[in-house]
Structures are given as C-alpha cells and as structure tokens.
C-alpha cells in the first residue's frame, strides 16, 4: 500500500507540472496583457515596452516558466498584474468558498442518489423505478446555467426567500449547492441503480436473506458496499467536471470562488493569477483521485491485498 501511494504521488507531481506548463504556454497565445493594462488609444510602442519590462514579460518563455516554478516551490505564485495583490492571498480567499460549494453539492448528491438509486434497483421495472429514472433523465437534460437562473427567478425574485447572489450567511449556499447537487444526482442515481442491480443478483445477497436479515441490512450493509466502487470512481472523475461546472454556477450566483477568480484572470490576461489558480485546482483534482484509489482498498479487501 505504501509503495502504491508513493507511485501515485510521483504521478501526481508529473500531472500538476504538465498542467502548469500547458496553462502558462496557452495563455501567452491569447493576447498581450500590456495592451489591456495600458488602456486608452494614444499609446506608443515605447509605453508598451515599458509595461512589459515592468511585468517581466520581455524574457523568453522558458525563463518566465522556470521563475514561476521556482516561486511555486516556496508557495509564491507572484503578484496579480491588476493591482499587485499577491496571488496566494487571492487564492486563499477564493479557495474555501469553492471547496465548500463543491463538497456541499457532492454531499447533497450522495445523500440523494444513494437511497434513490437503491430504491429504484429494488423496485426494478415497477413504478418507483420508472419515476426515479424519468426524474433523473429530466435532471440530466437541464443545463446548469439555466437551472441556476430558474432558481434565482423563483426563489429570489418571485418568492423573495433567498439572496440572489453573493456569499453572505448559510442561506446563500442553498441555491448554488442545489444547482450543482441536482445535476450530479441525476447521473449518480443511474450509476447507483445499475451497480445495485448487478450486486443484488449475486448469490451472497440471497445468502444474506436466507440468514433472516432485515431488508435494510441486506441492502445497506451487504449490497451497498459491493456497489460502491463504481460510484466512488465516478465521483473522482466528477470532481474534475464539477470544478468546470462551478465556473458557470459561480458566475451566475456571483460566488467569490476560484471559478470567478480564474474567469476574471482570463478576461484580463492576468497570467500570474490564472497560472496560480489553475495549478491549485489541478492539485485538488489529482489529490481527490488519489483519495479515490485509497478508498478502493478500504471498500474492497480484494484490492487491498493485490
């Protein structure tokens, strides 16, 4: 197990390095920050040169990249082109907001999808199953931004119950988390249902029933753990697309998270902020997938001893 984790950590470092390289390179293709910063129309080439010099952009790409890596080693992401705030400070403010939102929606989707999926599997082909499958299909067909806007219209504008945007107090969590959670639940329900169906047809489930165990013990002790591997795998993969989805949801709800930070950085060609925020997000996605691999071993002893 220790060897396995070591191997995975080495891989993770590699992945994060590759991500930073691609991001740093790609953003430099997207336009010149000096033009954005200078603003106005009567600027000379000389002014632009000066700005580039001040930001260190006149150096060759590899020098800039190595400088970024060197900073990374000591946790220094550089300073934002806009106002000179340290990037690490910006990230330390935005990251908790995003992580809270991501984990709240994941948790919500697990709490919803597990019992619903189990219930659908047990009632395969009967009306509860049909209903859950139709609801899941409906959930899958919503684009997240549309769902977000509909919620704002209904809960904030019509009913006036919830704040339409920002992060002020626990009630402002409800709509962003619901938006993400509902979309995740729609896929997770199907996953739980399919893998439960597979498990329920196994002989050890009949054996558990023949012992006289209660239904919920059979389902939630004997069957669920055997069905958990596909769900855990998928949650690991989902985390990546969850972060992508969060950019949009954060925009709609004006949520001060990493999505908003990265989005603004792209629009302003703010290289240091973008490099820093993408690196941190990549790190988290890699870390979550490492945890998923470790979770496999905890769930299934057959994987542990391999």
């Amino acid at each position: 197990m220790a060897g396995f984790i070591l191997k995975r950590l080495l891989q993770a470092i590699f992945v994060v390095l590759a991500v930073t390289l691609i991001v740093s390179f790609a953003i430099r293709l997207s336009g010149d920050p000096a033009v954005m910063l200078a603003g106005g129309s009567n600027i000379t080439e000389k002014d632009l040169q000066n700005i580039r010099q001040a930001l260190g952009l006149e150096r060759p790409f590899y020098v800039q990249y190595l400088a970024f890596l060197k900073g990374l080693l000591v946790g220094d992401f550089g300073r934002s082109f806009m106002g000179g705030t340290p990037v690490s400070l910006l990230i330390s403010k935005a990251l908790p907001a995003t992580l809270l939102l991501a984990f709240a929606s994941l948790l919500l989707s697990i709490v919803l999808s597990v019992p619903l999926g189990v219930h659908a599997a047990v009632n395969r082909g009967r009306w509860p199953d049909q209903l859950i499958r139709i609801l899941s299909l409906v959930g899958l067909s919503f684009p997240n931004f549309w769902l977000a806007i509909m919620m704002v219209l209904f809960f904030s504008i019509t009913l006036g119950l919830l704040p339409p945007s920002g992060m002020e107090g626990p009630e402002s969590f409800i709509m962003p988390a619901l938006t993400m959670g509902i979309i995740l639940t729609a896929t997770n329900v199907r996953l739980v249902r399919t893998s439960m169906l597979e498990t329920l047809s196994q002989q050890y489930i009949m054996v558990a029933r023949s012992k006289g165990l209660k239904d919920w013990v059979v389902l939630y002790k004997h069957a669920l753990r055997n069905s958990a591997i596909p769900l855990v795998t998928y949650i690991g993969l989902q985390f990546g697309s969850l972060i992508g989805g969060i950019v949009i949801v954060e925009r709609v709800f004006n949520w001060p998270g990493m999505g908003t930070l990265a989005f603004d950085a792209i629009s302003a060609r703010d290289y240091p902020v973008l490099q820093g925020s993408i690196t941190v997000l990549a790190l988290f996605i890699v870390l979550i997938n490492l945890l998923v691999d470790i979770a496999y071993g905890l769930i299934d002893p057959r994987i542990r001893t391999e």
Binding site: G3, K7, Q202, Q203, Y204, M206, V207, A208, R209, S210, K211, G212, L213, K214, H222, R225, N226, I299, D300, P301, R302, T305
Partner: protein, 626 residues
C-alpha cells in the same frame, strides 16, 4: 435442540409441502415452474430432490423459505407447513415477513451451489458467521466470535482463529463451502436445505464436504433437503428421494427402492443415463451403449451398442515431449517476478489416430493449460510438440495456421463460446471461410447443412440464433463448428461437464460415433472419472502439472498404482445405495501450483508397471500431500 418423543418422530413431519405451485412472470400466461408438488420431511432425515435443469428442484428449495419472493416468483397455491422449535406448526405461504425472518437462518438454513459467490467478498469470515448468531441468539460480539470459532472447528477447518479475520477471496472453494456450512449451522437449524452444495467442487473436496454434512447432521439431528442432479451423491446421502421432471414430482420413494425398482419412465431414463464407474470393468475398449431419452413423455431408446475399436497404434498423430508452461504472477514494486504458476511441468504423452486420450485431474492440475497450449492459445515455456511428425517450434506461420485448422477445440460452456449475434450457420461456416477450405458460397452452405445433420440437427437450424437452442443442442452446434475445418485432433475441454446426464450420454455417444466415422483423435479433458471410463482408450492422470499415471483405461481404472489415482477413484460418488457409505476418509486441500521464483518443483521419475502403463515413483513428500 428440542426433544420430540420418539413415538412422535415418524408420524409428525418437520416440514410438509402440500400441492405447492410456484409461478414466474405476470400477465395472462405466467410460467409455472413448480406444479402441485407435495412431500414431507421427517426430523433428522435426508430427502433428496433430484432432477435435471428446468425440473423446478431449485425453485422448490427457494420457495420453502419464501426466497422466491426475491427472484420474481410467486407462490400460486399450496401450503408449506413447518414446525418451528417453539410454537405450533405454521404455514410459511402466508406467514408475515417478520415471522419468516425469524425462521430463516434460525430454524431453516440454506447452503448454495457456488461457494465462490455465496460469501460476501467485503466482509470477514468471522463477521459473516457472527451475523446470524447476534441476530437470532442475541449474542454479543465477543461470544459470537467464540461460537464462530467453534463452528469453524466443527467443519474441520484448521487454524480457526486466523480464519475468522480472513476474507473469502483468500480461501479455496472447498474452504469457502465449509465456511458456508458453518454459517448455515450457526443457530442449530432443524432443517438444512442444500442446493447442489458440491457440484462446483473437485471430486476429492466433494467427498470431504459430503462427509462433513453427514457427520454434523447425525450430531445435531438436523433434517436435510438435498437438491442435486448427481445420482451418485443421492445414493451416498439420501434416505428418501423425490424425482422432479418439468416442474412436477413424478416419483417418491426410499433411496434403495428408487435405484432398485424405479417406477416412473422418467426415473428409469434418468438412471439409465447415469455413467457408472466400473461399468466397463473387464473390457479393454470403450463402448457406446443405447441411451433412453424422454420423447414427449414416452421413453425412447436411441443409439446402438458398439465397441469403439478405432485407434490405430502404428504412428502417433501428436507427440508431446517435456511440455512445460509457466505463468508469472506476483511482482515487486520494481516489476521483478516473485512467484510463478507452474501449470504444466515436463509433461509427455502421445495421441494416435482414432484414439481418445483422457486427461483427468482436479483444479490446478494443468489439464486445461495443456489443451490451450496445443491449440496455440498459450505459449509454452519449454518442451516440444510434434503434430504428424512436424515440430511445432520449427513451423512457419503458414504451417501454424494450418495446424489451427487440424486441431480444433470444444469448450465447456456452449453458450459462451457461440457469438449470440450471429446465426449458428454463420458460426459453423466461419472456420471454413477463415481457412479458405471452400470458396463457393453455395458449397459452403451445403457443407454447413451436412455438418448439422452429422451432429443430429436439421439443416434449417442454420438460420437460427444460439439463444433459440437448448444447452445440449448448442454443444452439438459447437461440435459441428469444430468439425467444419475437417480436423484430425479435437480437444474437448470439459465439453460435457455442464450438461444434464441424459444429454451428456447422447453427446458422448455422438463424439464416439464421429470418431468412428472420421477417424478423429480426441484429447478429452475432464474431472469426471465415470465419463472418462466410457469414452477413453487411454488415460493420463495429472496432479500439480505433472502426469502421475498414464496407461490404457483398463490398466489405470482396474489396477491404479499411484496413491493420487486411487484417491481420485475412491472419491467418486457411486450411484448405488447398497454400497457401504463410510468409505476411507479423504483429507487435505489440493495444493497450489504457485511457487516462489527459484523453488522449482521436483520432476517425477516414471516406472513402467506393465507394458504401456507408467506410474510416477512417489516421494514421501507427495505421499504426505496426497
């Protein structure tokens, strides 16, 4: 355990099934799997329910505990009267869920067929046994664990303490089935239902499991319902027998009567199809005998008696010399191999034209690996194989392709080995097309029709799909496909093991008939000694990747020299209830062929005990293991 007064013992049954019917599916025409079946089980006695696939025997056993509720079944009529340890007899058909849960695992317990899948892979053995104990007996975790350990000792598992914390995948099939028995007997049930508990096990392990069930039954006074298709097991285990056919009970009688004077035509047909070890004693050659089959409810004889004098011992078609096949398993962090499976170690044998050589052995003996190596599905580690005098190692790619045409393979599972999305005609024609044997499409079609007729099917079957055929018919299709490329050698790997006995007898006859007609050689790979006796000219016994005895069938069966051959022969259940049941005890697991790198197995030296009959000289180590 309660004490019914002895006078009560025989007139008050423990379980009384009355006119039980079970249906599956809904709508206007549900499928009735069990029709109007009645029988009684007396306390402490063993009732065997026998029948072939589709007879409804397993559905009946599930219905007794109302477990059919979970498989989409519905009890359509009848009563299941059971006397629990406390309180009056109750009808399980209309018992509440709570009442059923009280009885399941406490008063009635069940053992299932597949030991590899009947234990939950994510919980320890101790956890799974304790579960029923804390549920029904109210034991706390510590006491439940102590009881679980006692139970493991009862089913003769060594090292019970360590075993409690093991997971099922760390145990062999035989050990898992013992754990299953320990689990079933945990709360001292009055009735144990065993659904084909030994069918998936090796024959020496089967003998051990049957002994354990018999001993514990005597000790605990448990009544047993034993579901099986194996008449040998019936003869070994049962007091009374119920014969089921197409969902109905066709006969019920004490075990000796069933074997001595079967009344229903189906029972007679079933018994006539059972291969019996020792039926060819004194005869040097294999023999085809007629089979009684049920044709629309009427027994009908098919086939003739024929001595299989087909082998030509002038020059072998296949010569295998010191064949060795090993697989790497277990690697270190840096990818260095630590363990190897020594599947086949220096195995040598010949097969002659028109001859059947049987390779017999249990799990891990390497018998299937030999077959796959000859079919070029597995690369050998060493040794030479000559086909028709040509060394396989020296063959050009074109010659190797031609060899694939001349050696054909018939697999165990006829359903898994046919592509469900193609017609059977397509599957049979494929080898002809692949090897370019016939170019003309009309001629290929004619050839497919001819092959179908040769295996006892109709030419119009070519247009159908595999799912439209029964198991026996599918195996006939696989045989037709194997014959399509006009092979000289056919490797039959457990090809009749999964079939019902009446179908099995017909397929064995078909194989023998085809051998005579086309001078085919067979390498017949199996664990079933009774079938081996019927079909083979010569027999090689494999143990841990090496041949321990090889010779004519008559020599090996009538004068077995190696202790493992004797053990194997004595473990086969004999379909004769008159025989003494308490046979010599067989103990011990089948050892594993996995060895650490650098620890090579010792190669047996062989001695010739009579012309053509070779036996491995036994080292003390092997004698200890066997």
């Amino acid at each position: 355990m309660d004490n019914p007064s002895s006078s009560q013992r025989h007139d008050a049954p423990l379980l009384s099934v009355r006119s039980l019917s079970v249906e599956f599916g809904s709508g206007s025409s549900p499928f009735r799997a069990v029709k109007d079946v009645s029988f009684d089980v007396q306390p402490g006695r063993t009732l065997a329910i026998v029948g072939e696939s589709g007879s409804g025997k397993s559905v009946t056993s599930l219905a007794i505990m109302r477990l059919t509720d979970y498989t989409g079944g519905r009890i359509a009529g009848g009563e299941i009267l059971f006397r629990p340890s406390t309180g009056p007899a109750i009808d399980l058909v209309d018992a509440s869920d709570a009442k059923l849960r009280e009885i399941r695992g406490k008063d009635i317990a069940m053992i299932f067929q597949e030991p590899m899948t009947s234990l939950n892979p994510v919980f320890t053995v101790g956890n799974q046994i304790s579960e029923a104990l804390s549920l029904h007996e109210g034991l706390n975790a510590r006491d439940a664990r102590l009881r679980a350990r006692e139970l493991l000792q009862k089913v003769r598992l060594p090292d019970a303490d360590k075993l409690l914390d093991r997971y099922p995948h760390q145990l062999s099939g035989g050990m898992r089935q013992r754990v299953m028995i320990a689990m079933a007997l945990a709360c001292g049930p009055k009735l144990l239902i065993a659904d084909e508990p030994t069918t998936a096990l090796d024959v020496t392990i089967q003998a051990q499991i049957l002994n354990i069930i018999r001993d514990l039954q005597a000790e605990m006074g448990t009544a047993v319902i034993f579901i099986t298709h194996d008449m040998g097991v019936v003869a070994e285990m049962a007091d009374d027998v119920v014969v089921m056919w197409k969902g109905e009970k066709v006969e019920q009688a004490p075990v000796r009567e069933i074997f001595a004077a079967p009344k229903h035509p189906y029972t007679r047909a079933l018994l006539s199809a059972v291969p019996r070890l020792g039926s060819l004693t004194g005869q040097p050659l294999p023999k085809r005998t007629p089979v009684t089959v049920m044709d629309g409810g009427v027994p009908k004889q098919t086939g003739t008696t024929h001595i299989q004098d087909t082998a030509d011992y002038a020059k072998p078609i296949l010569e295998v010399e010191k064949l060795t096949t090993r697989f790497d398993v277990g690697k270190t962090f840096f990818g260095r191999v630590t363990h190897r499976v020594h599947a086949v170690e220096e195995v040598s044998f010949d097969i002659y034209p028109g001859e059947t050589l049987a390779l017999v052995g249990e799990s891990g003996s390497g018998k299937s690996t030999i077959g796959r190596t000859l079919q070029q599905l597995v690369e050998p580690t060493g040794g030479t194989v000559r086909f028709d005098g040509r060394d396989m190692n020296a063959m050009t790619p074109a010659e190797r392709r031609r060899l694939r045409q001349q050696i054909q393979y018939i697999f165990q599972d006829p359903f898994a080995s046919l592509d469900p999305r193609h017609t059977v005609g397509f599957s049979i024609a494929e080898p002809i097309v692949v090897h370019g044997l016939i170019k003309d499409r009309k001629a290929i079609e004619r050839r497919v029709h001819e092959l179908l007729e040769q295996v006892g099917l109709q030419p119009q079957h070519a247009k159908r799909y595999p799912h439209e055929f029964s198991g026996g018919q599918r195996q006939r299709i696989c045989i037709a496909r194997a014959l399509a490329s006009d092979p000289k050698l056919v490797i039959a790997d457990e090809s009749v093991s999964a079939l019902d006995v009446s179908i099995q007898a017909q397929i064995v006859n078909l194989l023998m008939e085809l051998q005579e007609r086309r001078r085919l050689s067979y390498l017949f790979i199996t664990h079933d000694m009774a079938v081996v006796e019927k079909i083979s000219h010569r027999v090689a016994v494999l143990y841990l990747g090496q041949i321990v005895e090889i010779g004519t069938r008559q020599a090996v069966f009538e004068n077995p020299q190696h202790s493992y051959t004797r053990k194997l022969l004595s473990a086969v259940p004999i379909a004769d209830p008159q025989r003494e049941r308490a046979k010599t005890r067989i103990e011990g697991e089948i050892p594993s062929p996995v060895r650490p790198v650098g620890q090579e197995p010792a190669i047996h030296r062989m001695r010739e005990v009579e012309p053509g009959h070779w036996v491995a000289i036994e080292s003390d180590q092997l004698r200890g293991a066997a």
